[in-house]
């Protein structure tokens, strides 16, 4: 993003946040799998697949925009 300042691209930070949040949400979804919360459509286990999606996007961004050199 920056040629003058060599700043780490903002996309890296976005990816890092998504990766951390994805892991937390995915793990919490697995932990409550057998005993889901009392929310509507809890049987769809949204935290598991949403957490997995965040991990995928986050990992992709971190890999693509990681600081080099």
């Amino acid at each position: 993003m920056s040629e003058k300042h060599h700043i780490i691209p903002v996309w890296f930070f976005v990816g890092l946040m998504f990766l951390i949040y994805g892991i937390l949400i995915f793990a919490s979804g697995l932990a409550e799998w057998a005993n889901p919360p009392e929310t509507v459509l809890a049987e769809l286990h949204a935290p598991v697949w949403w957490g997995a999606l965040l991990i995928l996007i986050g990992a992709g961004y971190v890999m693509a925009f990681r600081p080099r050199g």
Binding site: A27, V40, P47, W50
Partner: protein
């Protein structure tokens, strides 16, 4: 449900919120080393790509107050609320990118009052700078208070804790990294809001078996009312819940308020001025326009789904009794309905991020306008660049301290938010007339610019006061006694802008214009605008502007 709060957060939710605070502070400290010069601190070094500038441009307006307020408005008024995201934004964003951005960028101005200084001189610039600074800081405080109230109602958090923790965090990261920090956190917030809120419409549509199932349930819950059509109910003021006529939406919202806000409000324009070159600056608002068209999916649709699936009816804020929920609580209610531990933390983090990014946007714009448009021209003209950067950092802190004071004052006035928004609109609509005429017509003179802006602002205030004293005058100003507050805002903006334009034109004809040589880089016809030659079709701004407008028209047709 605990009567003291709507939602209880688990440990993983709290960890997600805490990680966000650590991350924004960490990013602020990391960026501090890059914000050394005035251009770095106030304009992020003018090196943002079109994507970063575009997302930041959009995010500066995508605060949590917006999300909660418009989700509540969609529960109250139905899909009519989407007008504020479509006709109330898309044409203006495209207009900014295609027509106005070249002048802002080529003039190398640091702000909108800065452009007025170059085009009209210190009187018009000073008036707009002072008004903008006061309004921005007032808005920041009121937003801060609104956030604290939401956190109290939704999570049961202490109001003082919310105000001080969020302000200190914003103060530290903006004072450290300037506009770099504000923009980085706005981009981060953009992603958090989308991924924090997107599950609500997805799960909601699964529950209602799609759009048609949702419409059927709304008709069952609210028989005889039309919540799902965008234009077909706007033929008469009394046919829709907003008390609105299509002329108010098209001419008041689409042509005046929206154009004024998206093209002259420095809070959003500052993000585009940080772009690395003129092509990025022109493309950034167009990129923002595409995402803006999608925002109703995460804001308006949850409100409509609330009409369909909530087992009770929400009520106006003023009428809410114990045990009842107000319209503005529809988004938190939907969060609590569908999201369990982890996802709930992400949703709440998205709201907190929205509030903090909004606050950061206000204080960074305030610091720039105070330092460059008030302090430098009127108080200390010749100082070293480092002095102005230091002033910007102190202004950030000072702006937040004043905002905190305003937040506490706001606690004493339940309806202050309405008044502040009205005050803000007084200034925006006439300013659009002044800036647009200045950019398009060489004949417009300096004194005409100032007097037009003054006349537009004063007439807008005058109309507002008149309706407060004589409520029956709404039938004159908004053309119908059935018009409600929202419609009155639209027509007041329209008249004040037309008054500004009329005064500017008449005074210009009676006064002497600037020589053309002094208008180079500022006015159409006196400025060589670089052509996008050589770039392929898919890289041309005008192509993407056309695609955005085409998509906008398709949406109007689908939801007609």
């Amino acid at each position: 449900m605990n009567p003291e709060r709507m939602i209880s957060l688990s440990t993983v939710d709290l960890a997600i919120v805490a990680i966000y605070f650590v991350a924004v502070l960490g990013i602020g400290f990391y960026l501090k080393r890059f914000a050394k010069s005035g251009e770095d601190f106030f304009l992020a070094g003018r090196e943002m790509t079109a994507w970063v500038a575009g997302l930041s441009f959009l995010s500066a307006n995508l605060g949590s107050l917006e999300l909660l307020g418009w989700a509540g408005a969609s529960y109250q008024y139905g899909i009519l609320a989407a007008h504020w995201y479509w006709i109330g934004a898309i044409p203006a964003m495209v207009f900014l990118g295609v027509v106005m951005m070249p002048f802002y960028y080529i003039s190398k101005t640091h702000s909108v009052p800065g452009y007025l200084q170059l085009r009209y001189g210190p009187a018009a610039s000073g008036l707009s700078a002072i008004t903008f600074a006061v309004m921005t800081i007032l808005m920041s405080g009121v937003n801060m208070y609104a956030m604290a109230v939401v956190m109290k109602v939704v999570l049961g958090w202490n109001i003082h804790f919310s105000i001080w923790v969020s302000s200190l965090t914003v103060g530290i990261y903006v004072a450290a990294g300037g506009l770099f920090s504000a923009i980085f956190n706005e981009v981060l917030q953009f992603f958090l809001i989308w991924f924090g809120a997107l599950l609500i419409p997805i799960l909601g549509l699964i529950e209602t078996h799609g759009w048609s199932g949702m419409v059927a349930r709304i008709q069952q819950n609210f028989p005889g009312q039309n919540f799902t059509h965008l234009w077909s109910t706007l033929g008469r003021f009394e046919d829709n819940p907003m008390g609105m006529h299509w002329t108010g939406i098209v001419f008041g919202l689409g042509a005046m308020i929206s154009m004024g806000y998206w093209t002259t409000d420095f809070l959003v324009v500052q993000r585009v001025l940080a772009a690395k070159d003129i092509r990025s600056a022109k493309l950034a608002p167009i990129i923002g326009a595409f995402f803006k068209m999608g925002v109703p999916f995460i804001v308006i649709l949850p409100g409509l789904l609330g009409l369909a699936v909530l087992p009770f009816h929400l009520v106006p804020e003023s009428a809410a009794q114990a045990g009842q929920h107000s319209y503005n609580e529809v988004l938190p209610l939907m969060l609590a309905r569908y999201l369990g531990p982890g996802l709930l933390g992400l949703g709440i983090t998205a709201l907190v991020a929205g509030f903090m990014a909004g606050m950061a946007g206000n204080v960074s714009a305030f610091a720039t306008v105070w330092t460059y448009d008030i302090y430098r021209p009127f108080l200390r003209k010749q100082a070293a660049d480092a002095h102005y950067v230091a002033m910007g950092r102190w202004c950030t802190i000072l702006g937040l301290v004043i905002s905190i004071g305003t937040a506490y004052v706001a606690m004493g006035f339940a309806s202050i938010m309405d008044y502040v928004q009205a005050l803000f609109s007084f200034f925006i609509a006439p300013l659009f007339g002044t800036v647009l005429l200045g950019m398009l017509l060489k004949r417009v003179t300096s004194v005409a610019g100032f007097l037009g802006l003054l006349a537009g602002t004063l007439s807008s205030i005058g109309m507002f006061v008149l309706v407060k004293i004589r409520p029956d005058m709404v039938s004159v100003i908004a053309l119908s006694s059935h018009a409600k507050a929202m419609a009155e805002d639209m027509y007041r903006a329209l008249w004040s802008c037309l008054i500004c334009i009329s005064v500017t034109v008449v005074v210009s004809l009676a006064t002497k214009p600037k020589p053309e040589a002094e208008l180079q880089g500022l006015v159409y016809g006196a400025t060589a605008i670089p052509k996008e030659e050589g770039a392929g079709l898919f890289k041309k701004t005008i192509f993407w502007a056309g695609v955005a407008m085409g998509l906008f028209l398709v949406l109007q047709w689908i939801f007609w």
